[in-house]
Amino acid sequence: MNIQTIFKGAVNVVIGVFVLLVTWYWLGTWYPTKHDSFTTFTGEYQGVSTDRWNSHLKHNDINVPDSIGYNAYNRLHDSIVTTRDLRDNNFLYEGDGSFASIFGLRRAINCDTCSLSWFYKAGIYDTSKRAYFILLPGWKITAGKKYYLWGDSDIFKMSNNRYILNPDEPYYKKANPQYNRPRDVRYSKQDECVMIPVSKTAYGILKVSFLITGIAFLILTLFLISSFINFTLDLAKGLSFTAQNIKRLKRIAYALLALPLFVFVLNLFLRLLFNRYLDDDVELNPEIWADTWKIIAVGVLFYALFEAFRQGKKLKDEQDLTV
């Protein structure tokens, strides 16, 4: 057993340990803790910044008068916003997952008449009032894009267990005569995207499927990372223009170039699949494509490297076989 073999073995062990650690950490985020915990969630909402004096509360909730003091205004404003979030399925559990910018899973409290005091006393433990959703990060509702900038928009509200789109913007009302009618779709305030309600059984099956898909995707990603690491190690050893290196570069380039296309096609497929829930005002979410150009640029770079190394190998072979 020579030193090269030992070195290669050690590198593979390091890569394997790294893969196991990342997988262990990632799996940990998929399994919920023993008791559902709202500490982080309520901690965030308790710290809501209320420096927005021009709130949009009025047409779904009581208007908070400006004449009360600053602290009292903040407390009342926060209480109203938090209650509305509770009723609008925006109280979300930890431990759910999302897969790239394609789909995700969410659980939420489902009670459009409940109060905050009910939630703090019994709501956390009452499993009968739960709703389950598929999240579609690639799709958002046109009206949502402008109002959620302010964080306390109430264009959606739950009423009699139906979700109603109720924007205040006149241009939207004119362009979308279907507003103020019950919708089957929900809207995630935090993620600014569409949520499709599903049953508890479907949620359970999907969670397992997502876990398996997620693990497969993680393995593929780590395989590509290890390809790149082995490529750089080969370069360090002086083995530049080898067939193995060319294969690695090709693999990485094709994966990076195919990823945005795969995400786009899958998003379109999901739109088709859930067409029953989605009306014409559901559009592609431009934010998920903001960084796509970086992935494509890196993919193009690796493709250029692949072509350069392929040509280099041809020249090297020609030189090696010249006597």
Partner: protein, 68 residues
């Protein structure tokens, strides 16, 4: 490949081994073996010149074109 290298034929005629030829020509056994087995992609003029001088032959005696 259309170009066939008949080095082994000339070596047999001159009763010369591969080792002896590589020493006299001044190229490695590996390169000579590549040439002899027809895997070579190119041959330098100086190498051809050295082989022809050692084996006392013409380039056409070593290289033969056979169309596909």
């Amino acid at each position: 490949m259309p170009i066939i290298v008949n080095l082994d034929v000339m070596m047999a005629r001159r009763k010369m081994s591969l080792t002896m030829l590589s020493e006299k020509v001044g190229i490695t056994m590996a390169n000579l073996s590549i040439l002899k087995t027809g895997k070579a992609k190119a041959i330098r003029i100086e190498t051809l010149e050295a082989i022809c001088r050692v084996l006392y032959c013409q380039p056409g005696d070593i290289l033969e074109f056979v169309p596909d």
